[in-house]
Symmetry: C2
Subunit: 423 residues, 2 copies
């Protein structure tokens, strides 16, 4: 997988994107909402209808179609020998009233790669699997990334099957109802690699007029709950110097998180939720609770920021005469993608003369579950306005064509390794 | 009503507070809650039971007992001539799980004054009315201060009667059910004066170890709703420089209100409620709404602060790249009490050698409704810890005795004016 090797691979761009665009539209019409969005929550009738359509396209292509115990849909294009497969995939479930591209584009890009390989008329040296992971979004059943987590062994099957939606249905019941759980299980042989094409869900590529994001990894996140304890009191009769106003703690936190992001390169931080208690206009807030999301591409930096923040919180509490506590709500480790695959994607984009840049994903993806299990990398294509999980989610036809061209070139490189050995 | 005159009034302290303390306890036992508080919402069975007990005490004293169309309970001690009466009163309704002193102490202090005058065996020169106003708290029927507002003509009777509780009952129905609306109507003759003794509901007197607050007026308030409009977005994928985070607007507001109170003497301000939307840990707040309560004893200062704040809001919005709006939610004008009555209270406290200080009430009281209608003033006694509307509400026996002593001395001065003319 070096730059020298790649030059031996024939350039095979996606010259005609009409099939994949038509399929994006077809899947997008399943669960279509009034304002043009999509609602295909995991295990909904719409999710299953879209799944069946993808399975039919797999079969049309001569792939053998199977599924595993958590319902991940897997289409297998056999290789010349039964060695470790290259896997391409993403998901087809959506959030409530989400967009047409998130997840779906990655599955259809995998199918399109398979289609073009088949059309090329030469069996790849290793198998190609195209996969649609179950319940990536986690809108109805938690945790999210469920299918890829079970697939990679990060989440136990039994735990996943027990997950309940708000109405009390379990994943196990839903799998049985739709008859989508299969007997397929990952072979002992490790995967040769995993590739996921996905919309950026951020504004960077569009703003820089770059078509391809070469994803080097996924930010780690720390979710924290801060509590400030003051004293609720009458807002008219209590002189200012007698107050212990918890809202001042929340305001300090909002501003301090902003300062931290300005002094730590690559750090993003958000105070997404603030609750004042008792929450009356004429009562001094006696308590404030704030939820903070901090993310950074380097685990050490992220953890240091949090440790320092905990000390600064105590100091701020003393100054503001408020009690303070902080607790961890959730966290996700930094994911580093496979350096050789990252280099390969960059080389392929360069060879195709498609503008690209490296970046770190701020959002979670199935690829992060697979990353500990097989060499993994991702290709991002631009999101208009950085918008996702929204009916306005959009990626242009040109960017779809360019993204799939890069994915195809990378996949051919991995599927026809012997080509690289030709002197 | 000068200091010289007052010296001609015999000192008649409340030497034995046992009757009034016993009555505070008796009324406090009606609607008593598990944790020692009181629930006597206006027109509840408990409110009516307490009202009947007060009326019986009025009758025991030989007062004629009557009520007006909004159910204000009025006990009349006739004077030697039928001139304008001196009126003393407050209310006996409470908030849900309130305290034993708020309102009740003022009614019982008035009754105690009447008792001591009667015991003195000499008819006052002018009538003394003791009044328990209907629905001061406004917990069940809005607006608050209902009885005193109708009494003084600030609120139309018809409008008050139409007021509905959350179950759909009207004030008119409640008055009929309890048969407490009477035919009494204020005579054309103006009142000679109105006095209200009340707990401070703030911490100032206790902190300064002062027994008597001479209330010079009631702060005006402006209640405002601020809106900050940003853009909701993904907290992981959106670079910091692309964000329009409405939480920064709310934080600016909290801190700026604090600064305003530090730079404007007498100003108190509170941001009691903040709502971020959509309120998810991993979504940048696209909208923030904050409710602000600003109070000041001078209307001009208060209004200037609000006008300046509106300009500063625009500037802050531009700097933070947020849209901003602000609207008035409610307001109450500054109430100035009668300067001669205020002086008289101060003189009486001084003559009794009871420590006193002038202050402005931060809370609303029936007296502010009467202030535009008759010369009015208030006497505050300390609230332990500044706490009210709470089972922990407490005023010490000593402070009750001292408060009633001052009230009695002031009342005697006004009831026996001819004494002051003796050379």
């Amino acid at each position: 997988m070096t730059k020298d090797n790649i030059r031996t691979i024939p350039d095979l761009r996606l010259s005609d994107p009409s099939r994949v665009l038509s399929r994006v539209a077809q899947i997008g019409s399943i669960g279509r909402t009034e304002d043009g969005g999509c609602s295909r929550l995991a295990f909904s009738e719409q999710d299953i209808e879209a799944r069946d359509l993808v399975a039919s396209w797999m079969r049309d292509l001569g792939m053998s179609v199977t599924s595993d115990a958590i319902g991940n849909l897997i289409g297998i294009l056999p290789g010349a020998s039964d060695v470790a497969p290259l896997v391409i995939g993403s998901h087809i479930d959506t959030v409530e009233n989400g967009g047409k591209y998130d997840g779906v584009l990655g599955v259809l890009a995998g199918l399109e790669v398979a289609h073009l390989i088949v059309e090329e008329g030469r069996a790849p040296e290793r198998p190609l699997w195209v996969i649609a992971f179950t319940n990536e979004e986690g809108s109805r059943f938690q945790p999210d990334l469920m299918g890829s987590a079970v697939f990679s062994g990060r989440l136990g099957l039994a735990e996943a099957l027990r997950s309940k939606d708000s109405a009390g249905s379990t994943v196990e019941q839903e799998l049985a109802r739709h008859q989508i759980a299969g007997s397929f299980s990952i072979p002992e042989t490790p995967l040769y690699g995993f590739l996921e094409l996905h919309i950026e869900q951020g504004p960077v590529l569009e703003a820089e007029e770059i078509s391809i994001g070469i994803v080097t990894g996924i930010q780690g996140f720390r979710w924290l709950q801060f509590n400030f304890e003051g004293e609720a009191n009458h807002a008219g009769t209590t002189p200012m110097t007698f107050r212990h106003d918890a809202s001042l703690g929340a305001a300090w936190l909002v501003n301090h998180i902003k300062v931290l992001t300005q002094t730590h390169d690559g750090l993003v931080g958000n105070v997404g939720d603030v609750r004042l208690t008792p929450s009356n206009i004429n009562v001094i807030p006696g308590h404030a609770r704030a939820l903070v999301d901090l993310r950074h591409p380097e685990q050490g930096v992220l953890d240091n920021v949090v440790e320092t923040l905990k000390i600064e919180l105590k100091e701020a509490g003393q100054k503001l005469e408020l009690g303070t506590t902080v607790k961890d709500v959730a966290n996700g480790s930094v994911t580093q993608f496979d350096a050789r695959l990252v280099d390969l994607i960059e080389d392929c984009a360069n060879d195709l003369a498609i503008p690209s840049r490296r970046l770190v994903s701020g959002a979670a993806h199935d690829a992060q579950m697979i990353a500990g299990f097989a060499p993994t990398a991702m290709v991002f294509v631009p999101s208009r306005g950085g918008i996702s999980h929204n009916p306005k989610e959009h990626t242009s036809d040109v960017h779809i064509r360019e993204g799939i061209s890069v994915l195809l070139t990378v996949a051919r490189h991995l599927l026809f390794e012997s080509d690289r050995n030709v002197p």
